[in-house]
């Protein structure tokens, strides 16, 4: 790493995120990377990634840590970037794995998305549009991690089904089921409150 080129030098470097699958390359993606080197744009991505990490880790300071490590990982893997097919899913996959890694360190649980996602999800009517958004956020924090991840990626980050599936490493069909169940469970949690 070259002095003055690091994106967020205030972080410690130690998080190795394994298992990235990188194929293909597009001009748009290269432009994204170039933009990422610019501090202002990096800050924009930082905000998005931070929101996602906070949704998963449920802790602001841990999200800070995760975020810094995500961007440092991106910076360290800069030479791999020309081979990345789509930048945003790639970035959020790093964010997801980083959060899992941190959570494993914190809770000593296996490094995987956990949660009773195979449960029978009952059908519930939609949430009333007058429902307070803060209650929905609180309810989402009680959901299994896998559901939180899919909801955050889809609703918070605005990723398409295909992109969310890429981040989570599941098929589009499985993603649809997952998203459906996540919304149903969220409705249930909000109603419980």
């Amino acid at each position: 790493m070259i002095a003055g080129r690091s994106l967020f030098p205030g972080a410690s470097i130690y998080c190795n995120v394994p298992g990235l699958v990188i194929t293909g390359c597009t001009r748009d993606m290269v432009q994204d990377i170039e933009a990422l080197s610019d501090h202002g744009v990096a800050a924009r991505y930082f905000r998005r990634v931070h929101g996602f990490c906070r949704s998963l880790l449920r802790d602001n300071s841990e999200a800070d840590d995760a975020c810094q490590e995500v961007f440092l990982t991106v910076s360290r893997r800069r030479e791999e970037l020309p081979a990345v097919r789509r930048f945003v899913p790639w970035l959020f996959k790093i964010a997801l794995l980083t959060c899992l890694h941190l959570r494993r360190q914190r809770d000593r649980v296996p490094e995987t998305l956990v949660g009773d996602t195979e449960d029978a999800v009952r059908s519930h009517p939609p949430l009333d549009r007058s429902e307070e958004t803060s209650k929905i956020r609180e309810a989402s924090e009680r959901l299994p991690e896998r559901y939180r991840a899919v909801l955050a990626l889809h609703y918070q980050q605005g990723l398409t089904h295909e992109e969310v599936a890429e981040v989570l490493g599941v098929s589009r069909g499985a993603l649809r089921v997952l998203l459906h169940r996540a919304v149903m469970r969220l409705r249930e949690e909000v109603k419980k409150k």
């Binding site: 790493m1 410690s12 939609p126 929905i136 918070q156 089904h161």
Partner: protein
């Protein structure tokens, strides 16, 4: 076909049009009741987007702005230390990765953060000139912070680009000198002197990295500082959320970022007190009913700043 179930309607709302179940889709189009229910589900989608994209409101707990002294060494400690770690990790020496001790460094950073909060709390008591225990505690905590900074820096640099003993001593001396004057001297002059002294302590490569880091960190401190100052004002004046946001606009537009350019630290609360123009604009954005509380807030900030100045001058003169 009977009415669509909640699950089927959710699928319709979630799936792209060409992936939707044809039977259900046709029924919903023809059925007024199901169309109404589908509208509700689609409205729910908007609600969920809002819920997940809105920023959570600031916690109600009182948040103190970053303080000059506390932020100064914390800033240098984490910033310079981490920058030095970049030196370590950018080294091609094979021993670097295996000898790096992240958990220890992480713990040291947490300790510094904790110490910063203690200093911030102790500093509040310095507004009372008769509080001798607070003054002693304050000086002790600042000195502890300096020691921990040097320790952290050593840990980052070791073993690939270790600080020489002379560098450690010089750095400690520099911190001691600089932090003693940060609440006393004119900021711009202090900035120039700080950079000159820093360049003398570090090698040219190290200095280049640190200088770049300071520039970047100033941006972050500026943004974070505004957030914390707003939180502080919101609690001190008991502002509603809608009343805080116009103040953010004033601060974002007029807050003197140049004051935070190179010197470690830089407390927006301090700068607010020092910049009458900015203070006036903030005051102008507040409803008249808040003016009394705002003036009281500024008066407390000035007493606190004076208290720090007095304590540090007394200590340095001994």
């Amino acid at each position: 076909m009977s009415h669509a179930t909640d699950a089927e309607l959710l699928d319709l709302a979630l799936l792209p049009a060409n992936d939707a179940d044809g039977d259900v889709s046709r029924h919903v189009s023809a059925c007024a009741e199901c169309t109404r229910r589908l509208d509700e589900v689609q409205a729910e989608q908007g609600l969920l987007r809002r819920a997940f994209t809105e920023e959570p409101r600031t916690a109600a707990a009182r948040v103190r702005p970053i303080r000059w002294i506390a932020a100064a060494w914390l800033f240098v400690a984490i910033g310079v230390g981490a920058t030095a770690s970049l030196l370590v990790t950018s080294s091609r020496a094979p021993s670097t990765a295996s000898s790096y001790r992240p958990m220890r460094v992480r713990q040291m950073e947490r300790d510094l953060d904790s110490l910063q909060r203690k200093i911030s709390t102790t500093r509040e008591a310095l507004a009372d000139p008769t509080s001798e225990p607070a003054a002693r505690d304050y000086v002790r905590l600042v000195l502890e912070g300096e020691d921990r900074f040097v320790e952290l820096l050593s840990s980052y640099c070791d073993p690939s680009v270790p600080l020489a003993e002379g560098q450690k001593t010089a750095l400690k001396s520099l911190l001691d000198h600089f932090l003693g004057r940060v609440d006393v001297d004119e900021r711009k002059q202090l900035e120039e002197e700080f950079l000159a002294r820093l360049s003398a302590v570090l090698s040219p490569d190290q200095y280049g990295i640190v200088r770049e880091y300071l520039r970047q960190e100033a941006d972050k401190i500026w943004t974070r500082g505004i957030d914390e100052l707003l939180a502080d004002l919101a609690v001190a004046l008991d502002l509603r959320f809608s009343e805080v946001e116009p103040l953010r606009g004033v601060l974002t537009q007029d807050f003197p970022k140049s004051a935070l350019s190179a010197i470690p630290g830089g407390d927006p609360g301090e700068i607010l007190v020092e910049e009458p123009g900015l203070t006036g604009r903030i005051r102008g954005k507040l409803r008249p009913t808040y003016h009394g509380a705002f003036d009281a807030y500024l008066a407390h900030e000035r007493r606190e700043k004076e208290g720090v100045r007095r304590v540090m001058q007394t200590f340095r003169s001994k």
